[in-house]
Amino acid sequence: MSADDLASGSILWTLLVLHLLAVPLSAWVARFDHRAGLGVAAIAPALTAIWASVLLIDSTNPFVTELMWVEGLDVGVRFRADAIALLMTLLVSGIGTLVLVYAMGYFSTSSAQMPRMTAALLAFSTSMLGLVLADSIWTLFIFWEFTSITSFLLVGHKDVDASVRDAARRALMITGAGGLSLLAGLLILGAESGTTSLTDLAPIDGGRAWVAALLILGGVATKSAQVPFHVWLPGAMKAPTPVSAYLHSATMVKAGVLLLAITGPAFTDVTTWKVVGLALGISSMLWGGITSLRHQDAKLILAWGTISQLGLLVTLLSVGTAKATFAAISILFAHAIFKAALFAVVGEIDIRTGTRDIRELGGLSRTMPIATAVAVVSGLSMAGVPPLLGFAAKEAAVEAALKLSGTDALIVSTSIIVGSVITVAYTTRFLLGTFGAGPDTTVAPRRPAMTIATTVLGLGSIVGYIAINAVNGIVGPAAVEINAKADVYSLYRWPGITTAFLVSAAIVAVGVALGLFILRRVDQPAPGARGADLVDHGLDRFLAWAPQPIARIQHGSLPVYLATMGLVALTATIPFVREVDTDSLVLWDNAFQGALAVAIIGAAAAGAFVNSRLGAALTLGAVGLGVTGLFVVHGAPDLALTQLLVETIIVVGFVLGLGHLGRSFPSAHATWKGVRVGVSVLCGVGVMFGLAASASNPSGTPPIEQLAEAAVEEGGGNNIVNVILTDLRALDTLGEVVVLAVVALGILALANTSDTEATT
């Protein structure tokens, strides 16, 4: 099979369906053996990674595939496999496969939570795949939210621990809020640029573009952990390390960066986009790096380093020059590989020594040689030292920074250089602190699955450097997808002695010195999680406060609920009042209608004032039968039949209920009774106006002719009303019966809880 055969929508859908089928299957297998479960889960991502790499190497043309749901609204699922989507697919599925293999070693016992863990990991992988391949704003948003939810489940793996639950809740709340902001932003963006396709976005400007830019940046900043929304990411490190390596370094946190890249072309004329993006990126890059230098926990050092690196990516993409975009995509690729490897090594250290504190670790280079080698290679790649992939990518970034011109150039390029120095410093401290001298730590035996995965990830940085042309073939077209002018750039194994190279050399030298200096200060206290505490405190306060207003709104009085709903619904009829065309109104078509109307009004009025429950039931029945009569006179047998049946079942219901209730209504205050009657009359009048308005403003000719024809031809039935219900407008019916089903479920739930609540 050639690559052209693989570049088809059916293969893409098959892979997605394979993922979806494997989610429950892997959970089921994991109940018996967690390693087998993880193995089953790894199949679909592995196939997807191979598929993506074949397409990337052959650099096939982009293709679009979609499943349309509502054509008129352009609502559907649409995927587009272009260079950047396939690059991300390779990262998501490739690293996903390795993480699942790694997890086979990481989780030693088949705990009861393993099925959930396995299923959630694969479900996350599926969501992320959908997110990176998405081509419509709807598809993107739906999968974006799926990644937030699966991330919540994965962070909260050890759910017996209260601090883990807090961390999971914090992550969900912040990324969830960002998701809502993103939805609003995407809706404005879609409306302004007139398309739901992410590839056809036209540049927009004006006030709405400004708002859309801020809202979308809200989504970017929360998902990609940019200051000040970064507080969820360090907390998420409470998740098992496979999760941290996969979600919180390599893939999910890159979703925001990806979004920034693909929506960027729409905001080229919006200054806010660039300014806010730079502010977010630069502050995250510096603050993340500085905080990383203050932590003693190896995993938190890496987590804060990730915030810093994400800040660098956001900065480069916000700069928006072709060179900076190319550099950002290169670093995104290199970072996913080396950071996943580093996390994997820290997880292995954690499992085999029982600690992640760099002060307690020592002698690991002797006892854990392979892990040390992987960490050193990946760490040097992170610091930008040759001969590694990170060096080539970092060179591109430094070059892009030095090439900037304009007022903001000084700030941006200085920040990138300072950020890089800090990166080298925390990398030095991490490597020497973890693997350098120190008290000898006892080390448990190696677990092959972990070693295999970490080694492959570690080799990635070396292979990427050797096969730099292949990397260029992947990264180059991806950057061109975002900025067409990026096609002139490529990564170099050895750029020669350029200004950028000299700057890089200086960065490494200063960074190493800084790292060594800070490493000496072993006794500095680790910074507290003030931001995270603030968020938790705020959430707790909100949850403590919420019951008060809820108790006021949900007071439990049925008449007040009905009156409120009636009044609110009434406001909807106000616009209709002026639309009524009084000339078109006739008293009646048929004298029977007049007689029935009088009877209905009389029965309704009697119902309002009658005191006994049986009397009220009878008057309501009379109203219903009167309406049925109106339908009959009008020649609508379907409506009459349905109305009659509804009346029948209501009468039966009354018979059932009256046996349990008193004969007459409890006495009510006269004013309250007046209010109720008033609201009812107003509602009736409102409906009357609405109907009169719609009858006097027919838009075009009634579609009865087309419906009659369509009913027989498409629906295969002669009863137009029912063919409309079950075929022509069946989607409405589907929605309605689902509402009925939800009501039924609600009633059942209430019926089941009322017993238990009454006793407590």
Binding site: N718, N719, N722, V723, T726, L734
Partner: protein, 152 residues
Amino acid sequence: MIGNRSPVVQLGIRTATPLAVLVGFYLFFAGHNAPGGGFAAGLVFGAVVTLRTIAGLQRPTHAIPLLSAGIFIVIAVAAAPLLWGDTVLDQAIGSIEVPVLGKLKSGSALPFDLGVTAIVVALVLALLDGLGVGAITTSEHERRRESTETSP
């Protein structure tokens, strides 16, 4: 319950049940070409169930399985056309020759209507549960019948 006090009501409802069920089936199948349909049939079945509850007679009790089945059917019918590339809820029509009855024509609207009926009946059952009018179980029913037969 009224049925316990009034054998006339109980007997009446017991006698009316098969007739009402027949009417329900008629409405269900007639719906495509004449007044009726899944919703109407569901209401008739719902009324039967409620009346039997009032009379203290046996009635179906399983709201949740019925509800699940109904939702499954409507969603399956809605989604099935996607499998062969049509839009959601696209109607398929077929006809078969049946001895005696002749040529019967129907479409995927029929199972869709069946799902609607199931959901409506399930809603009535849920309402009865919600009102705390529990159904009479078989054993209880037998016991009552015995007690009424022996007591006079």
